[in-house]
């Protein structure tokens, strides 16, 4: 059931972006793409410019469907939050839609264009978009220009939207959320604030208009933003129209998101069962998490992380063979988040509570094998590489999806990361993956955590302590 087919302030798109960015799962010796093929196509279809006020404009032509998506993306996201501000970036995303003119004015304008809209918030970015039939592209650019330049502050509107966000938090307060928060706070320590997109009911309640005003003034400025127009448009005309609509947006000083990667992380290696209160939980979900690469500093490592995850998730990976096919665990998946804030890379297994000792021991043995030189092989790398290229080619089928990927990659890295993505992935080799694994995974500090039924808390806690405790160097 689609619980949220209408504008919902971020959840659906956040999930989409997370799914796209957490490249997880399953190739041959011949090249996947001919060298430079992706880049040539991107150079043909994508044009970009930077206005005098610092605003980046990106246009991606794709004429297959008569629709156009207009996105305004801002760098920063949760990474700009100070302690006590947890959830601020997400609340701001919700607020902006409501602060547009009179109550319901934004919805009405989008409806008058026969369009659809939404927003998303991630650890390092915020995005707003409208998708309209192409004949409405010009108007959509204008609507987006007005939306993101909102300067009106209304405490009543803010408090009203807090209630909506509270219900969103309540919906997400299940076992996976409990585990994510528990792992995150142990992984990032005090810096969890800058990864915590959702916040808590208390942090949301305590947010004041002054927090919002300050955030918008320093982050919602042209030099920190990109306007992405994708779909059935002419690039020159779209750039001209965006320049006209956004060119008079006054420049302002922005905080530099370049320095926002958590700097003091010390994965503690401690273990915990985070909850026995999640309802209807009958299985144990156990996750291991490592800090990942900074995409802006080490794009090769970021792509190698994605490739490693694909390899682990492949139906023929050694991990799958030993853990799944042996019956130790029911499912296994690895995700590598592409971010400037050090990933993370997360390995998650689901198992039967009574099997916790055997499964935890098998998982620990698997982690220890990551360091062995024969764990990775060229066939696995080739398979993972092809899988990643397949995913990337899939983005290009839909201009709406491609635009979201451009926005996501622009916020965490830059446009060139997207422009070169397919070719760079196709050229990632065994040596690069091995280098990544040695530098970030094998024998490196991690955090471990689990969520499961209350009946097995002691056993799960003991198994975690036995097999994953004391892994800090």
């Amino acid at each position: 059931m689609n619980a949220c087919p209408v504008p919902c302030g971020g959840r659906v798109v956040r999930l989409l972006v997370a799914l796209c960015l957490c490249f997880a799962a399953p190739a041959l010796a011949q090249p996947v793409l001919s060298t430079g093929s992706w880049r040539m196509r991107m150079d043909r279809s994508i044009r970009d410019t930077v206005l005098a006020n610092g605003l980046t404009i990106i246009v991606n032509e794709n004429r297959t469907t008569p629709v156009t998506t207009v996105i305004v993306a801002f760098r920063g996201g949760a990474a700009m939050q100070d302690p006590g501000d947890e959830g601020l970036a997400h609340l701001a995303e919700h607020y902006l839609f409501r602060a547009y003119g009179n109550e319901g004015a934004f919805e009405s304008e989008v409806a008058s264009l026969n369009g659809t809209y939404n927003g998303w918030t991630s650890a390092e970015g915020v995005g707003y978009y409208i998708t309209v039939p192409s004949k409405g592209a010009v108007s959509a650019i204008g609507v987006m220009s007005r939306l993101v330049r909102t300067t009106k502050f209304n405490e009543r509107v803010l408090n009203a939207e807090k209630r909506v966000v509270m219900n969103e938090l309540a919906r997400d307060a299940g076992a996976s959320s409990i585990l994510r928060t528990g792992l995150g706070s142990r992984m990032w320590g005090m810096e969890w604030t800058r990864k915590d997109v959702s916040g808590s009911p208390l942090s949301i309640e305590l947010l004041k208009p002054s927090h919002l005003r300050s955030m918008l003034a320093t982050q919602y400025v042209p030099s920190n933003a990109a306007v992405i127009i994708a779909g059935d448009v002419d690039a020159s005309g779209a750039i001209a129209e965006a320049s006209r609509r956004f060119g008079d947006w006054p420049p302002a000083q922005s905080q530099s998101p370049a320095d926002l990667a958590p700097s003091t992380i010390k994965p503690t290696g401690t273990t915990a069962v985070f909850s026995d209160s999640a309802p209807d939980v009958s299985l144990v979900t156990l996750s291991i998490q490592w800090p990942g690469a900074r995409v802006r500093q080490s794009p090769h490592d970021a792509r190698a992380a994605e490739l490693f995850a694909e390899m682990v998730n492949s139906g023929v990976s050694p991990a799958m063979g030993r853990l799944i096919n042996s019956g130790s665990v029911h499912s296994l998946s690895m995700s590598a988040e592409t971010a400037d804030g050090r990933g993370p890379v997360t390995l998650t297994v689901v198992l039967t509570p009574d099997d916790i000792d055997r499964a935890a021991a098998a998982l620990r043995a698997e982690l220890d094998r990551f360091a062995s030189s024969d764990y990775l092989n060229a066939t696995l790398v080739a398979a993972g590489r092809k899988r990643l290229v397949h995913k990337a080619e899939g983005w290009l089928e839909s201009s709406a999806v491609a635009s979201q990927m451009i926005a996501s990659m622009w916020t965490v890295a830059d446009l060139d990361y997207f422009r070169s993505y397919g070719d760079a992935v196709a050229q990632t080799d065994l040596a690069q993956v091995s280098t990544f694994v040695k530098a970030y995974i094998a024998g490196r500090p991690f955090v471990a955590g689990a969520v499961g039924p209350g009946t097995h808390v002691d056993r799960v806690r003991a198994a975690l302590a036995t097999h994953f405790g004391g892994n800090a160097p």
């Binding site: 059931m1 619980a3 949220c4 087919p5 209408v6 919902c8 799962a25 399953p26 190739a27 043909r44 794709n62 004429r63 469907t65 156009t68 319901g104 919805e107 409806a111 026969n114 659809t116 998708t131 039939p133 192409s134 004949k135 010009v138 009203a160 939207e161 909506v164 219900n167 938090l169 309540a170 919906r171 448009v233 002419d234 005309g237 779209a238 129209e241 309802p279 209807d280 939980v281 009958s282 299985l283 492949s314 023929v316 799944i324 096919n325 029911h330 499912s331 080739a382 398979a383 993972g384 092809k386 990643l388 290229v389 397949h390 080619e393 899939g394 089928e397 839909s398 709406a400 999806v401």
Partner: protein, 438 residues
Amino acid sequence: MMRSCVRAILAAFVVTLVVTRPAAAQTPVADTLPSTFMVGALRVVHQQRSTSETVAIELFLLGGARQINDRNAGIEPLVLHASAFGSKRYPGAAQAGALASTGSAVHVETDNDWTAFSLRTLRSELDSAWTVFGDRVVSPSLLDRDVLDARRQMVADVAVASTNPDYLLMQVARPIAFAGHAYANDPGGTDRSLRTIRPEQVREFHRTQFVASRMLLVVVGNVDRATVERLVGPFASALPAGAYTWTPPPAIPLRKTSITIVPRKLPTDYVIGIFPGPLAGSREQGAFRLGTGLLGGLLSYEIRQERQLSYAANAPLFDHLAMAGGFYASTIEPARVIQIMIDAIERVGNNTLPLGALPRFVSQFEIDDLLSRATNAGQARQLARKFLVQGNLDGMGSEFRALRAVNAENLRRVVARYVPAIHFVFIGDPSRVQQFIR
């Protein structure tokens, strides 16, 4: 002032032309209109699209919930999941290796009307990937061990899904809202049904049900018809033809309204109401579709925008071939929300729905449709639906002409017929909805 307005309008018009003018160099040249043809006893729908380097293949096993009962629900996806553990040409782990080497993805998805077995692949890998995919359908090993491993994983998937209140809500609502109809059984299976399915049942189901006459193959992507026919030929000839004849499902029966309470301690309560609808392709479907959209807009406005009682308040359309609609919200004030839903039903009865917004909803459906067709897989699903509803691919876009033809009186009549037969399910704190329990 007036002159400047005219200038502004002219400028906007010129800009509109500039922004949206066709760019011939970008237009794919090799794309075709959808077509359908037979390969042996297998019906194939094909459309070539050169947007990207990918191909989406959807094999629909027709019938869905009508092929199962409450004791073997989940058996069809179990066959397909178990086939991943080996097939005649690729025994054991060789199959996973062969598929992985192509970088392709295979998915199994159940629906009330069919099970979709999907292949997503790069054009350059199509031949290799199709060979593995086809062998899984035609000649899966289905050894006892394969079936039991696949069953164990499906039971675990159900257990994980059951921690999601939305999943639980639908599991409770399905047999109530669809009582007396095949849709009452979940084609994906339940914990209880899956645990009792034995390997020999799975092999028998494959032998009798995996026949060409019960399949519809849809191929959309960067591949031409000649290639499709070359690939599919051996596959179709290896399948038994069978004697299955596709017919649309009957409509969901209208029954007296009900409310079911499931006590749960949750961070927020959940409520869903499901009401039957007409058959897809019927004269009423447009009005029903629009009416559901209208009610969704009303609920979202009244519950979320005006009162901030929920993050998610809407009216889902269960767009199966026997259609249904619903009301949905998560909330910590369920009594107020349910009352708003009841008020909405009364507005249906006393003709006070805001019908002025109808054109907006037609447009909303159109853009949603365009977006869903943008991907090869989305287009494949839409083509299959079109073919199964009307038996051909004629009149693409006719659905929207029908939507635009809906008038206020049609809509009132259709909505008033179906919406009052609503069945509510509430999951959460029962003390918050005492007034609705009689």
